[in-house]
Symmetry: C3
């Protein structure tokens, strides 16, 4: 029903995102049933947010010019109560990125914040350090319990749904926490896995506004199940990372509520 | 003969285009037999237009900086009588984009203007509204007769060849109008189908300058036939949108005049 | 051992590169065993270079803003003795690009400079002219002897390892020159072959710092062998350029020192 809703509504997703993975994000947004529009000029972003159903802010390759546009878009989105998704790519990697991430968090409301544990810890004022745009090795050993606690804590502080990606994904608001065990190691072997997920989350949540936490969970499951199906396509030979990426987006395109119901491995945790 | 000319001449196509689909545009331009050069800095664009055979201006992800560069390039291109193609992506989606589109149309001559019906209507001062960068649902029901009339009208006003993409594509100057029925619904299921076509049009027209209308038609046929062949590759299973995109550009790479002659479904209409 | 070292160390590669091929560069860097980080804002680039193991400067789609960032990054990289790779895409194509290329060469130290013969000739103050971002037809006929001489000459002037790509690739410092005969004509049939190689060189060299010339040679071999394997995948039918590109990066992902040892065709020349 979540996928079906999304495809019936075909929401428009405004993305201010990095130029590294933007094409894959656009195609993944189409694949799941929504329509992407990428626009980052200060002269038009607020108008484009206004006609869109959701706004994705991705901090990869941010610059002074686009940060202003992000703020103008977020202002409009908050005014109109649109779905907003923050993807704080490499949030702690530089002072500039750190301060932008913190500023956005302070000045605007986000419906969902999605990051790896290093990024989410940073936003939560916990000591952490990314390895570039990837999770740090140290953070890889954090217990699921701790991660869930961090998610709930940031959810409480910000009012946002928190998605922490990792071997096990966490999807949480301040009261309820889900884990999802779909997906596999190949998803870290290409650039843009997280960016794609942020796009999917925006699409799923704005098409299923009455159940945002469940919708965010379904977006995570959709991505993970697609990753699992993509991997199964090449069981006999080692799959290359580019073919895997293509298969993943293809599988999002072919996704259905039934497939998610059959293959999703999620549960609510305490 | 159009494809053969293009491959023999290997023209250089200067593109000032959006960062979403730029890679696919570059590879499609190579695939058809031309060479792409993407450059958008005001300090070099005029020089690069000067050494190029054609200029493609694509309004997706435009910004203040690149609009200045578009104008400098167009000025040079018009001065040197180069082939110029305008792709007014989402022309009416914001005041900024609308005014840039209208300004470019007023200040510069275009050899070809290519858009979906919503975009072309807007440039023709007809009431319309895009859905983001896609055609609006309302415009989808316009009759072929009306669309042809709109194309001829804009061709008369601007002196440009007008290409209107849709289920049936229209290629028209002020006197002669062709329709092309190749292509299929998968071409709207990935990002950049229109951007790729604009690149092909520039390549075909500048390599076949004595027959620009026919060359634009052949570019549309090339794209449509490639789309049809790409779809046929995956008749037994549902094809994903990323695989379809890859197949499409691959088929452009393998295109020949013979294939177009065999498979193109075009005719002249009154 | 070069590939093994690279995968064991998983170095972080900071790229200031063009928006045309950036996604393929990122995925190729992951494929070979390193991690990419693309960042070009003046407010963060020096910091990001500082935490990275190597810096790639690619002049495609450069602009005034990113040139400042390139200089800030290079300053930091030279200060910290990081591996730096220059890819002077289309160096002579405009006055702006020419002067930036020459300025960077004058003001900063590069570990490796990689280009086609037209680009390297230009940096060497020899008469040449690119065809857009491709080698000029005239330069295609230069003898291997002359090319090797040009490489050694620029190596002596700059202290950099020089890589000249072409039908036969040249890898040279001021004393020792290798040629590599892997690779094939398909590698010029998609956009970004050279950009990918620059990323690989940065990764191989910074993970094998004690043998930089051999490491650069191994990067060239890795790329060429991957291209050869990619081509062999489609011997029965003509392969499209997009499928070839995907196969190439996939083969980099599956590369091993053993494969390079088996398949690399390189030798030292006088």
């Amino acid at each position: 029903m979540f996928v079906q809703n999304l495809r019936a509504k075909n929401p428009l997703i405004h993305c201010i995102t990095n130029y590294v993975t933007v094409n894959d994000v656009a195609n993944a947004i189409i694949a799941c049933g929504a329509s992407p529009i990428m626009a980052d000029d200060i002269n038009e972003v607020a108008e484009i947010t206004k006609i869109s159903d959701a706004l994705v802010i991705n901090l990869g390759t941010l610059n002074e010019r686009t940060v202003k546009s992000m703020k103008a878009s977020l202002k409009q989105a908050n005014l109109d109560d649109k779905i907003t998704v923050l993807d704080p790519v490499g949030a702690s990697v530089s002072k500039f990125r750190s301060s932008v991430a913190k500023e956005l968090l302070k000045e605007f409301r986000f419906s969902v914040i999605k990051g790896n544990l290093s990024e989410i810890k940073f936003l939560n004022d916990l000591k952490s350090s990314s390895k570039g745009v990837d999770i740090s090795d140290k953070d890889k050993d954090e217990s699921l319990e701790n991660i869930a606690f961090i998610a709930r804590n940031l959810a409480t502080k910000t009012g946002a749904i928190i998605v922490i990606t990792g071997q096990t994904d966490i999807i949480s608001d301040e009261n309820t926490t889900y884990i999802c065990k779909n997906g596999n190691s190949m998803m870290a072997e290409f650039s843009g896995s997280g960016c794609i997920l942020a796009g999917l989350i925006a699409a799923f949540v704005c098409a299923n506004k009455d159940m945002p936490l469940k919708a965010a969970l379904m977006a995570v499951c959709c991505n993970g199940v697609a990753g699992d199906l993509a991997k199964q396509k090449n069981v006999l030979t080692k799959v290359g990372n580019m073919t895997f990426k293509q298969n993943l987006i293809d599988e999002i395109y072919k996704m259905s509520d039934d497939k998610i119901e059959d293959l999703a491995k999620f549960e609510e945790i305490e």
